[in-house]
Structure formats: C-alpha cells, structure tokens
C-alpha cells in the first residue's frame, strides 16, 4: 500500500517543503504551532491547494501537479476530524454520523455503524443535537462521523486542543480503542509531545515547513531525547509497571534493568507507560549519597555535553535510553565530569508526575 505526501508550496511567505511516507496505524505530525502541520493535512484533504504536490493515498493518486491531476475534496475519501469538530448544528447526532455513511454506502464497509457507536460510547447521545454536547463528546462524534464515511485515510487536527486535561485523557482512551480496529492509516497532528508519544506508532517531526525526522515511536523518542534542539528539553522513556504500592502511593516502573519509582496511583500492573522526565529535575552525583531522601538513583553514562548559553545540558545514557539533564556551569565545574564519565541521575519520585498509559495504542 502506497501512501505518499509530497508537497512544495508557499502560503503567504511561509514555505512548506515535505516528503512524507505514511506508515500503517497512527502517524503523528509533531511540531510547534505554526510549523505548517495543519496546512499539510489541508492540502491532503484538498481544502488547500499546493503549488507543487504529489499525494498518493491507498495507491490512488489524489494530486500530481506534474500530470495535472487534482481530485476534488468530495472524491478523495479522506476522513477529517477538525480541531473544532464542525458537527452540523441542524442535524442530531445520529444524522451527523449517518451523513457520510449514506453518501458512501456503495463502498465496502470498513467501519460498521453499530461497532463505531459502541467503541466511542455514543449510544446515549444519538438523539441529541451538537449544541448540548460537551467538547469531548463532540470530538467523539466527529471521529465517528469521519470513520463512517469509510475513508482511506483519517486526518485528526489537534482534536484534544480545546479540552481540559481530564477530557483529554478520556478522549485519548477512545482514540486508543479506535486504533484497535483501524485498518487504514491515520494522521494525528499535535503540538503536544506527550500526546504524540502516547498515540503515534510512527512519528514525523515537522518544523518551519520541513520534515525534520520520521521514524517509529522508539526511534523518534531516541531522536527527541538526544536532540540538541532547545525545543526538546524534556526526556521520555518507555517502561512497564511492575509493582504498585497503593498505601504509599508509589509505583515501580521497569526500564530495562533499571527501576524507577514514581508517585502515582492511577496506573495498573503490567501497563506499558511513557514517563516524562524534566531535565531540570535531575540531580547529578558521582556516588550514591547515603543520606538523601530521593528514591531514584540511575547509573548513567554521559554521552554528550552541550553548552547552552549559561547552562550545560548533559545527555545521559542508560540501557539504550537517553535522558537530558540541565546543570548550571558552576555545578558542572564542581563535579569535574566530561563525556564518557559514569554518574548517577537522581530524581525525586514526586517530580515524576507525567506518566501515561500507552498499552491501548
């Protein structure tokens, strides 16, 4: 199956030049706001026109400027979940869901109405109107509506952007459920790195209208963690929950041979999780201090030392994982460390509070 997006265009002085090869499952487009992510997917959907483009989805050529091919929006077979959901206000939820389904009834069924309703938990909503749905419910309906049009590709443009954290987590779970039955590729646009690493099977970093890096999740996390780009300051590590002590509120996460103790009560045993470690939360020590409160001492190897103005960023390696630690120049000199030195990264369990379950995706 060929899914290629090649776009070269200029939108009011902002140049976009990307060649993206989509993989199966959810492809996350990550980048800061204004990086051109939404413009790219608008070109794919046909809402925006690119100067030079070649877009092939599911082996169908949708655009090829060299051959003068330009398939109109309604014939592209691309489901689009907009940031603002765009449910039709005059139709109830059922008719919103059926809108695309009725127009595409001739195609072979990739997504079944009852199954989608069930997976997205829409059963109790179908007689209501979009006006009195919450933001999260609207986005669930929008996802269902897009899938029921039986698309060859699903586009999601920051569907969580307007939701609060609790609703975000809930919707991520629903997207995870959808992912299990997703037999088409999907593009998920986000400027949140934790969303990206949580949902993306493949991840494409986009900045200033260019593709910086493409790879599967593990490779992308590695790329992110060792990147010297100031934007990517925190580190992400994938691990597995091996022990829960709910009395003390502590959870142990296995990272290779190392263990990380975090303060969290929301995780379950055997869950695959992604842990965010802020570079400013790490204390570097050459020995394991014996009278220190911290619960985590990870033995690491310094693989790189990056000078950032008045700060030093150490890139530390342990068991194929990379994490970044930020130090002041004074601390760096005091410790007398350099590239290749072994040292301990000390992290308070309380400081690790961004742990996301990714077993669903």
């Amino acid at each position: 199956m060929k899914n290629i997006i090649s776009i070269k265009t200029k939108i009011s002085n902002f140049a976009i030049d990307v060649n993206i090869d989509l993989k199966e499952g959810i492809n996350c487009f990550f980048g800061p706001s204004g990086a051109g992510k939404t413009s790219i997917i608008n070109c794919v959907a046909g809402i925006k026109r690119a100067k030079e483009s070649k877009i092939i989805i599911n082996n169908n050529i949708l655009e090829d400027t060299t051959k003068g091919i330009l398939v109109p929006i309604h014939k592209r077979n691309i489901g689009y979940v907009f940031q603002d959901s765009r449910l039709f206000p005059h139709l109830n939820i059922k008719n919103n869901l059926l809108y695309g389904l009725k127009l595409n009834y001739r195609k072979n069924e990739k997504f079944n109405y009852d199954e989608i309703i069930n997976l997205l938990g829409l059963d109790h909503l179908i007689h209501r109107f979009p006006y009195n749905l919450s933001g999260g419910e609207k986005q669930r309906v929008a996802i269902g509506r897009a899938l029921l049009a039986q698309p060859d590709l699903l586009l999601m443009d920051e569907p969580l952007a307007s939701l609060d954290q609790e609703k975000k987590d809930e919707l991520i779970k629903y997207i995870g459920k959808i992912n299990e039955i997703l037999n088409i590729p999907a593009i998920y646009v986000s400027h949140s790195i934790s969303e990206t690493f949580t949902l993306g099977a493949s991840i494409h970093f986009i900045n200033n209208g260019n593709l910086i890096y493409s790879g599967n999740r593990d490779k992308a996390i590695n790329f992110y963690n060792k990147s010297k780009n100031f934007l990517f300051r925190d580190s992400y590590i994938i691990g597995k929950v091996i022990k829960i002590n709910s009395l003390e509120g502590l959870t142990e996460i296995k990272l290779g041979k190392e263990k990380l103790t975090v303060f969290s009560n929301t995780l379950d045993l055997d869950q695959k999780v992604i842990v965010k470690i802020r570079s400013t939360d790490i204390i570097i020590s050459k020995v394991i201090p014996d009278k220190l409160s911290s619960l985590n001492y990870i033995k690491t190897n310094i693989v790189d030392v990056v000078f950032e103005k008045e700060l030093i960023c150490l890139i530390l390696n342990f068991e194929k994982n990379l994490i970044k630690a930020l130090l002041t120049k004074k601390s760096y000199k005091k410790l007398n460390i350099k590239k290749g030195t072994y040292c301990y990264a000390i992290i308070k369990a309380l400081n690790i509070n961004d742990v996301t379950n990714i077993s669903l995706v």
């Binding site: 109109p72 309604h74 077979n77 489901g79 765009r86 005059h90 139709l91 109830n92 006006y131």
Partner: protein
Amino acid sequence: MINFSQEEISAIYLSLKIALVASLASLPFAIILGYLFARKEFFLKKFFISLLNLPLVLPPVVTGYLLLITFGINGFIGKFLLDYFNFTFAFRWTGAALACAIMGFPLMIRAIKLSIEMIDIKYEEAAKTLGANRLFVFISITLPLSLPGIVAGFTLCFARALGEFGATVTFVSNIPGETQTLSTAIYNFLQIPNGELMAIRLTLISIFISISALILSEIIFDKLLRYKR
C-alpha cells in the same frame, strides 16, 4: 359572527392569493440570487444589487409606472407575451402579484443573503470531506442553515405584498374581483360617502391577517431553532 359582503370576501381572498403567489414565486429566485450575492464575486455585482434594491427607494408609483410601460399591453415585454403566449399581466391579479413581488423582492433577498453570509463555510468544507458534492452541500447544509433567513425573507415579502398599494394601483388599477386587494378596497371606501364603516371593518381584518402571519412566522422560527436548545 360578522357577515362579510361579496366585495369584502373577494378583497380578502385576492389579497391573500396575490401576496402568497408573489412571495412563493419570488422565493427560488431570491434563494439563488441571495446565494450568489453572499458567496460569489462577479462583474458589476454592486450594480445588480442596487438595481434589485431600487423598488425599496423609488416611489411605488414610479415602480408601477415602469411596470406598466414594460408589462402593459403595449409594453415591450407585455406585447411579446400577448403575441406569443396570449398572456398578459395588465389589469389582472397576476399583474398585482408581479407588482407585489417586485416590491417585496429586495426585502426577501436581503434577509436570505444575510443568513447565508452568517453560515460558517467550515461546515460546508466538512460536508465535502464526507463525500458531498457542491449541490448536495447546498441542499443538505447551506439551505437548512439559512432557513431562518428564508422564513424571515418570506414573511417580510408577504407582509410587504399585503400592504402594497402604489405600484399595484398604478399598474393594474383597482378592479373589484380582479385586482382589488384589502388596501385598495379600504382606499376605495374612503372615497365614497358613508364608506367609513366598511373601511374600518377592512382595516380590522387587515390587522388580524397581519398579526396572524407574524405569529405564524414566530412559531416557525421557534421550530427551526429548536436545535439550539
């Protein structure tokens, strides 16, 4: 129970028929032109909009006179219709309906154009991504979302047609049973001695019809906007 005279009944009936036909016949044109004016840019757009709004600012007598010299028996369109189709607007109720339609059209198109302009084009984009072509988007999204404006435009045109006097009387005169509406009948009774009582009766009927029409349109509005509650 009030006993209506033959003349009164025919004036009421004609008024309603003329206003209804004028509004219904204008509706498709107003929707199409309203859509074009709201969404498309074309050469001389402002000129066409001004031209259609002309009856709003011209004295109604002038509009009636212009209709007479174009659609009258010797007018260039009127003569053509009579010669080839054996049809004429002159001194017929259809002529009164034409005059009312022309007078009410600017009000109708204004309401429809405004309501189409208010629709967020994003909904139409979303419909296209779901596989709807332009025509289907228009029928399933644009039209229903502009329905409140269409109803408002229809009501305004209908109300204008009920009250229309100057253009009608100039174009098709005031013939009982053919072109005499409530307003021309009231005027007529005021011209004859002891006609005041009749004029008052017809005035009350006019008020009753107008209020009923307005209440009906309010009810329809409520129904149309139910999805916002």
